[in-house]
Symmetry: C2
Subunit: 217 residues, 2 copies
């Protein structure tokens, strides 16, 4: 399963085992609802989700919790924080019973020159770069004015990721609303309107777009 992570993709079994050693890998199980990191904690290792799902949120200045990202199988969380060995008021929670492979950055930073270490360094940096680009997309969604526009942008991105007009989102309505930065009931309302207009159908967290919502698809 970890081969799905770009950090390990394409490694031979021996290389993979060496990589695990280099990164002090430790697999752990976490029950749904378990807090993997609370706001003031540091993060000694970053996580690769093997199974289940994890939410990254941030403690609001007013103490409320604000959803930053959902991390599914094959995806990672906390690399930036772990690499910098800094603290940030991030909260990480298991949103489903999950297995997580915990990895340490230390081995990437020590001076060794072996081929594997160099490859992992490149891959790690590429992961961060890719995350940066994805966050640009997220910002673009949030900066839009209306709920309709946010939904268009969000669903379009889902279509792109899924490679088809039918897909599931890893959120319930409340989570989706938090992710888009809108009120939950207002989101339900807008989704209803869009369904009435024949733009899409949905059931729970599964959506099916009837056509491209945006021009230039």
């Amino acid at each position: 399963m970890p081969e799905r992570c770009p950090l390990f993709a394409g490694l031979s079994p021996e290389q993979y085992q060496s990589a695990l050693r280099l990164l002090s890998a430790q697999e752990k199980s976490h029950a749904r609802g378990e807090i993997l990191k609370s706001a003031p904690d540091p993060l000694p290792a970053f996580g690769l989700v093997l199974e289940g799902g994890v939410a990254v949120s941030m403690e609001d200045i007013d103490g409320r919790e604000m959803l930053l990202n959902h991390v599914g199988p094959g995806q990672t969380f906390g690399e930036a924080l772990c690499y910098l060995e800094e603290t940030a008021p991030l909260i990480i929670t298991a949103v489903a019973d999950s297995r997580v492979l915990w990895l340490r950055c230390g081995g990437l930073k020590t001076p060794g020159n072996d081929e594997l270490r160099q490859a992992l360094r490149l891959r790690f940096t590429a992961m961060l770069a890719r995350r940066t680009l994805r966050m640009n997309d997220r910002i673009q969604i949030l900066a839009r004015g209306s709920i309709r526009e946010k939904l268009n942008a969000f669903l379009t991105e889902c279509v792109r990721d899924a490679g088809g007009l039918c897909f599931s989102v890893p959120f319930d309505r409340a989570g989706m609303a938090a992710y888009l930065g809108v009120d939950r009931s207002a989101l339900s309302r807008e989704l209803s309107h869009m369904r009435q207009e024949g733009l899409l159908t949905y059931h729970k967290n599964t959506f099916a777009l009837q056509m491209q919502l945006t021009k230039g698809g």
Copy 2:
């Protein structure tokens, strides 16, 4: 001046010269309004702003331009895109007469093991990691509901960066509105209200907070 960039901070003059060579550094001047990269272009080098300022925006699905970031002296732009050698619909514009040091990632990715190269790799990765954390803050601002809340969060961050209650922002009102994802006139209105309430004073792009806007300062 480039010493202000974490990529070069603390290097000896000789190391610095070697680093410039390694990164194929080229300094260029750009007039205000010049487009450094339009939406479909690739980005063969990333930029370190020496003087002036640069705006990174993104082509909206509807073709409108959406402000993602402002880059001031000592800061960099385009590292992620350049490192991945991918294309993304980012638009980069000089918002003032500027001098930019253009740097290439190639030298970081080739296998060499010399000390300087390793140091630059570490620093480059750290830069990306830091950017990731800053983008989290930005997302947190944008995800807030009301203009008042966005302003509180934005101004609080400015105070933190400036280290004092008085600071300038690198935007005019229109840019600030775009950065916060709100209407320009609505932003002016809200700022007026806050001034009337005695929370702050401002003139053009200079602000002075009267006190911490948020509890727990």
